[in-house]
Each structure stands twice: as C-alpha cells, then as structure tokens.
C-alpha cells in the first residue's frame, strides 16, 4: 500500500459542509492520491485515437489542440442529438439535492463537487451558457459559465472521481443518471486526447490480445492448464477445460482477472469444478478471453469495438449460446448494450440448460446467461450435491456489485446460491445492499495505485457497512461477483476492516460441491474444512 495515505482515523474525519462561496466561484486543485495518471500515448495511438501525447494532469499546460473549444462544442452538440438521456438530464434537474449524500465519493470525501448534482453541473453549466436561450442571454445569472482550460481540468478530476455506479439515479425523482453524464464527459475529453491510462491501456491490450491484461494465447492456455492441475491437487479429480473448441455447446467468457489474480482465481477454480461436475459441453476462447470491457469506461465506440469479439467468436466456434462469469461492469455491457451494439445474435440458439432443460427466456435475444442464473437453476433442480458445512469456517456477507444490481437486477440469484452453499450468511444494513448497494470505490477504471486515497475514501461507505456485520456477526468473508471488487476490495478491507477476506461466489459453490471421485479435506485456499476439525459453530 502506498505510504502517502493518511491513517483511517484521519481519513474518516469528513466535513460535509461546503464553502460559503457559490460553487461557480469555488476553485479546485489536483490533490495527490486522488487522481489517475494520463494515458500512455502508445496505447492511444494503437487504438487509432487522436491527439496522443504524454500527459501529466499535474502539469499546468495540457497542450490542448488548437481548436479544442470547437471540438468540445461539436462533440457535445453531437451527443445531445444521439443521447436523449444527456439532452433530458441537461435540462430537467431541479437541484433538489436528493442525490447529494447518496454518492460514495461525497460520503467519503465531503468534497461538494462530488455531489452527483454538482458533478453534472460541471457539464451543465457549460451547456447552459452555450446551448440554451436563457444561458446565452443571461450568462452567469442563468447558471452558465465559460468553457475554459480550467473547466477541462475540473472535468478530468471529477469525471474520474465517479465510478458510474448509478446509485444516485436510484434516488433521483427523474432518474437522472450521473453515469450517463460521466460517460459523456469522458467521451468529450477523449476527443482532446485526454484519458486515464488505467482505462486506455487495458482497452488497447484487450483490442489486440483479447483481454485487458495482454495475455497472449499460449499464456491463456498455460493459465487454464495450471488451474486444472491445481484443482486436481485440491480435489483429486482430473478435469479438462477445452479452449477454442469448435462445436461446443456453450462459449464461456470470464473477466481476465479470473484466471490471473487472487482471489478471483478461486472463483475460476469454482467454475471449472462445477462445469466438470455437471458435464457441461463448453469452451473457452483465447480471442474472446475477456468479458470485462474497459471500453465502457472510455467511450461507447470503444465499448462496441471490444465487445464485438464475443459474438464473432461464438459464431466462429459454432456454439449454441454463451455463459458469462462473475463480473459487474461486464454484465452491464452484456445486459444493456451488447445485443443492441453487436447483435442480433441470430446465429445462436435460445439458451437452454442442457442439464436441467430450463429455458432462459430472459436471455432469449442476447443468448447470454449469467453464471449465477445458470448455477441457481442447477441448485433449484437438485442437479448438484452440496455440503454447505464445508464453508462453515466462513461467515459471509454479500456485496452486490453496482452494475449487476442497478443495471440488471440480479439480486436474488446470488443470494439463493449463497443460502445453499454456506450456513452463515449475514446481510449488511438494508440501505447498503441490493439496488442501494455502495460501490467498492474503484470501479470504472479508477482502481489504480496512484488514486489510492480517492479509492479508500470512495470505498468508505461500503467498508463501514462491512465493519458493521464484521463486529455484529463476526463476518470474515466479503463475497462478491465482480472482478473489480475482487481486485480492489482486499485493499479496502485491509485499510478499513482488517480481518475480512474477499471471495468469489463460485469459490463457495466449489467448496460446497460434492464431486464424484473427490478426495479432499481443504477448501480451494487449502484451508481445512470446518467440519474436519472442531467447529466453533457446531
């Protein structure tokens, strides 16, 4: 962990009172630890994007292209036509303030410009002055302000202090969604060659190699084979995991961290064990070796460019339908964008579970099923044997990821699974779960090291809720179904709630899964099953 960051006791002293001056007069500056570094020009170039240049946000001169104002105005005009969301959200906010204390970044920092309403006003003030009659006529009196290089910097700072989690849009009486505003703001900045490297470089990697981490085909194969070997060591069961296999029934797509990082990896082992046990005919793909999509955090076009490979590969391999692994923003893309952008998937079949015969009617058009839907259906139909006591060493709480809850409504599937695979499941307080869930604080490309203070601040509301169940119910495992969560929550827990581990849902599934021919006495982390020793809970 970076040594720049203050201690938790210090960071949790938060003043929510803004200054006396009206916000149009309030200044801001880049504060170390709360912003991300600019894009690597190589990555910008390799994606064929304009104005690639070495870029340090802390520099005074951002080397904006000569006609930068025109570019922003054109870009905004274009997007107002293309997105009713943007046009309506620019026009109808009444600044009632209901969203203000719903944002994890505001709750964790007290910075008034992190109130969703004000984050949107950063863009809206320019829109008012340059695009509305009242603003053109009355200027500042109508809440308009001039577009200056300082405004561009402010956009960069605050549109990359929003994780596009959409919690504010749940509470807004008009459903104004700050994620839309942030997305548009980021797109506008990209028109000037301005972006953050933690988004641009993974996107460039994904474009070329098929995954964000830049793992080459043979590396992918090694990882999968390594996992198969690990699973054999752990369970005594030898499994096969096909790659690029033509004619398989199902294409399985996961976020790349699943086969490369911990604790994701335990969930990956979980998928392998489960698919083996039920005898699913599936294949991985090296070309479509990423379900996550950092394009979503970049621009609509980039999202489409990266997402295209999933359908393309499903077609090439001749599969019938697709299953997607545990990931948050990946599922926002798959659920709300993929079919529209890269469909129709008329070369696939309506998904039917070959094990239970269940028809996944809700995925009739997109033909892609969430692993939790698949597994919950297996459990409901009694197709797998589970021993939940094997997870008795875990006292579990569940973190809904922003995108699967507010961009999909996948709330009950993971809970149904959890109740069947473990005996100790405790919910966090009701205002912090389901559609009101709090972001990990590191989503939408902000999960980098240089941004650590902002992440710890943004994750504070989530951590505070975890601490509650940790103290009340001795919860020691924060279970989640999102790759970014798994990558960043461990740091958040170490900082705010030491003693709580982070795990994947399918890790718990595989722990509980009684496999044919197994010989095992430990969970996937090589910890002895609780029922093998004297359990405290027994």
């Amino acid at each position: 962990m970076s040594d720049h960051i203050a201690k938790p006791e210090e960071l949790s002293k938060i003043d929510y009172k803004p200054g006396k001056k009206p916000w149009l007069d309030a200044s801001f500056e880049f504060h170390k630890g709360t912003y991300s570094y600019g894009s690597n020009p190589q990555s910008v170039k390799s994606l064929g994007l304009p104005y690639a240049r070495a870029f340090n946000p802390a520099n005074q001169d951002w080397q904006l292209p000569e006609n930068w104002k025109e570019i922003i105005h054109e870009g905004l005009r274009d997007r107002l036509k293309k997105y009713r969301s943007l046009q309506v959200f620019m026009d109808i906010c009444v600044r009632c303030g209901a969203c203000a204390d719903k944002c994890h970044f505001f709750l964790g920092s007290g910075d008034p410009k992190n109130m969703p309403v004000l984050r949107a006003e950063l863009l809206r003030s320019v829109y008012r002055r340059d695009f509305t009659a009242a603003g053109k006529l009355l200027g500042r009196l109508a809440g308009g302000r001039e577009l200056t290089p300082q405004v561009i910097k402010e956009w960069y700072y605050y549109f990359y202090q929003c994780t596009e989690c959409r919690r504010c849009s749940v509470f807004c009486p008009y459903g104004i969604d700050t994620a839309e505003i942030t997305m548009m703001g980021r797109e506008l900045l990209h028109l000037l060659g301005i972006g953050i490297d933690w988004v641009t470089t993974p996107a460039a990697n994904c474009f070329r190699t098929g995954n964000h981490l830049g793992i080459l085909p043979h590396g992918f194969k090694d990882s999968v084979e390594f996992a198969c070997d690990d699973l054999e060591d752990l369970t005594g069961v030898r499994i096969e995991a096909p790659i690029n296999k033509k004619g398989a029934e199902v294409l399985f797509v996961v976020p790349s961290a699943d086969y490369f990082a911990e604790p994701h990896y335990y969930g990956f082992l979980g998928y392998l064990a489960l698919f083996h046990e039920v005898g699913l005919d599936y294949t991985f793909s090296t070309y479509a070796s990423e379900g996550g999509n950092f394009g979503l955090f970049h621009s609509s076009e980039m999202m489409k460019r990266l997402n295209a490979k999933i359908y393309a590969e499903a077609k090439r391999l001749g599969v019938k339908w697709i299953i997607g692994g545990e990931c948050g923003h990946m599922w926002r893309v798959l659920h709300q964008y993929m079919d529209t952008m890269n469909g129709p998937a008329d070369f696939l079949e309506e998904p039917v579970s070959p094990i239970t015969g269940t028809r996944f009617e809700n995925a009739r058009s997109t033909k892609m099923v969430h692993i939790c839907e698949f597994t919950a259906d297996l459990i409901h139909n009694g197709k797998i044997k589970l021993d939940p006591s094997r997870n008795d060493h875990w006292r579990v709480t569940f973190h809904d990821s922003c995108n699967t809850s507010r961009g999909m409504g996948l709330l009950e599937e993971p809970r149904y699974i959890l109740r069947n695979v473990c005996n100790h499941f405790h919910e966090m307080p009701e205002n912090t779960i389901r559609e009101q869930t709090f972001c990990c604080g590191s989503g939408s490309g902000l999960g980098n090291d240089e941004n650590l203070e902002a992440r710890m601040r943004g994750g504070f509301p989530r951590a505070s809720a975890v601490r509650y169940v940790h103290e009340k119910h001795d919860v020691n495992l924060l279970c989640c179904i999102c790759a970014i969560d798994k990558a960043t929550l461990p740091t958040l827990m170490d900082y705010w709630v030491p003693g709580v581990q982070v795990g994947a849902l399918h890790e718990l599934v595989a722990n509980a899964l009684v496999m044919e021919g197994e010989t095992r006495s430990t969970d996937l982390r090589q910890q002895p099953f609780a029922n093998q020793e004297d359990s405290k809970d027994a």
């Binding site: 009713r84 046009q87 009486p173 070309y287 964008y337 529209t340 469909g343 409504g409």
Partner: protein, 331 residues
C-alpha cells in the same frame, strides 16, 4: 445572493404590474395581451422542448433497475421496480409521476463517532414535494371555475372537499395554505441546508418566489382585499372565448395575480420547470429492463473498427501452433 437576486426579480415584476395597472391604467395590456402572450409562449415553448427531446435518439436501454429482474421462475420478479413489460413500465411511471416513488426512498446519511456511516429515513423532502405538487394541481383545477360556465361538477366537488370544514366566509381552502406552506419549506431548505445553498442557482429560487407571490396574492384576494369575482369571471370567460373585454371595477390585486401567473407560464418552457415534461422521457425510468429478452435497436448504430479473429490469428499463429491451439489457417 442568488436568492436575493431572485427575490428582486419578482419584486421587479410586481413593480411592472403596479406601474402598468395602477399607474398607467394599462388594464387591457395586463388583462389580455400579457396572458395571451404568456400562454402562447408556454404552449409553443413546451411543445418545442418536448419535440427537441423526442428528436434525440434513445440508443440503449439504460433502465436503472431497482428490484429483482425477471429470470428463473422460482425467483419473483419485481415488475414495478424492474419492469420487464409495458404494464410494469406504466406502473413504474405512474408511481414515479403521481407519488414520487424515487424521492420516497430518500435517506439521510450521518457520520457517527468512530467513523461509522448510518442512514436514516428522510421523508421531509418527499412530503414537501408531494404536498406542493398535489396542492398546486388542485388549486389549478379549482380555477377551472373561472373558465367554464356552468362550472363542471368535478370542480365543484373539489371545491367542497377542499373547504370541507367550512371555516370562514368565503370558505377557506386548505390547498392554498398548504401550497404556500410547502413552497416556503422548499425555499427554506435551500437556505438552511449548506449543501443545497451551495448548489442553488437564481433559477432555483426564482420560481419558488414567483409561486409564493401567486399563492399569496390569491389568498389575499380571496380573504382580505376582495376583488369583484363576477367581473373577474367576465374577463376570464372573455379570454377563453377569444372575445376579450376588461370589465370595470376589478381590483389591482387581481392584475398582480394574473401577471405573476403569466410570468410563470412564460418562464416555464425556458426553465427547470420543464421537469414536468421531462420526467416522462427519462430513459432510466421509462424503459423496461428486459434488454436480453427483447433486442433494442440503436438508430445510429454504425460499424466500428474491430480486431477480427483473422487478424488475431495472423499475429499470434506461431505461438498458438506451438501451444497446440487449433488454427483456422495452417499459415
């Protein structure tokens, strides 16, 4: 500062009507020309704004889902919070528009000792908003008695319900008082809550003051400085029949009331008050969350540069062959 400017603006409006009617005797201008102009501006402006919104595309189905999706038959779908069909969407919108469902969720976060965040229920804003909008609607509907002869029965029913307790002569209408009280509350919270006063623009205070002036002048006119109602109705019926006339003896207060109302109508389409129309067009609320079930079409979807499998295999053929991965082309 923004509040002062807004109050000043309403003061200027009052000065204009005072000077115009009481000073310059321009009853026809303020009784006929201004109201006609304001209503025309309102209708045209409103239509323009809505058409402009409608002219923007809805490329994606970006429903904000606030409940369980429709998936497996044994998991209950919450069709009002995460609609999967038209009935669900209509129900969700009705709850939103009529009862301010989302605002009802409102919570208030508090940071406790030891750095613990807690969330309390906070229905005040919801209650204030519901009281304000509903009473405004009822007051507006009651005013139909000035624009129809005979007065429609539902208006009479509204009136008698509103004055149920028959306090005072003429009967005191509760809605008028609640309207004034709630609009005052909506103003006060903007001044008292620091975050709100930080974000509030002149455009947030102005309509509140204007509505206070409208409600205030209305109540004054009814109970304190009475105007000639027969003459008023003669004027309003003239307006509605496009045979405008200015009867004698209508008090000044009426013209002030009418001018404030006209100002509100004229201002409406150029302001945030357009949330009245916009709430119906909000894509996070008025679309079903069934994107995987029914394909949504983006009217401006265009082809993008992708990295095809062929290009991918061309670049990585060597390592793929060495790793024993199947290939499309041997070389």
């Amino acid at each position: 500062m923004n509040a002062l400017l807004a109050a000043l603006a309403v003061g200027v409006l009052f000065a204009i009507v005072l000077f115009g009617v009481a000073g310059a005797n321009l009853q026809f201008v303020f009784g006929v020309v201004v109201p006609y102009g304001a209503v025309a501006l309102f209708l045209l402006g409103f239509a323009y704004r809505v058409l402009k919104w409608a002219g923007s595309a809805v490329p994606f189905r970006i429903t904000t889902t606030c409940g369980q999706q429709k998936t497996l038959p044994f998991l209950k779908n919450d069709n009002l919070e995460n609609p999967h069909n038209l009935i669900g969407v209509v129900g969700r919108m009705a709850l939103e528009v009529l009862f301010f469902r989302s605002l009802f969720r409102n919570t208030k976060a508090k940071l406790k000792e030891g750095g613990r965040l807690v969330y309390g229920r906070d229905k005040w804003l919801w209650a204030g908003a519901v009281a304000f909008h509903w009473t405004f609607l009822i007051v507006l509907l009651r005013h139909l008695r000035f624009f129809a002869e005979p007065v429609p029965s539902f208006v009479l029913a509204l009136q008698s319900l509103d004055g149920l307790f028959k306090i005072g002569v003429p009967v005191f209408y509760f809605t008028g008082a609640i309207l004034l009280a709630s609009v005052t509350y909506l103003f006060l919270r903007r001044v008292v809550i620091p975050q709100l006063s930080f974000i509030s623009l002149m455009a947030d205070y102005f309509p509140l003051f204007l509505i206070m002036a409208i409600a205030g002048s209305g109540i004054l006119m009814r109970h304190f400085y009475k105007v000639d109602l027969v003459a008023v109705k003669q004027l309003t019926m003239g307006l509605i029949r496009f045979q405008p006339e200015i009867p004698d003896g209508i008090g000044f207060l009426f013209f002030a009331h009418l001018f404030f109302v006209s100002a509100l109508f004229a201002y409406f389409p150029f302001s945030k008050l357009m949330h009245l129309g916009g709430v119906f067009l909000s894509p996070t609320r008025n679309l079903a969350g069934n994107s995987r079930q029914r394909r949504h079409v983006n009217p401006w979807n265009y082809a993008v540069k992708t990295h095809t499998y062929e290009e991918y295999e061309d670049e990585f053929r060597e390592v793929m062959r060495n790793a024993g991965l199947p290939l499309e082309k041997a070389e």
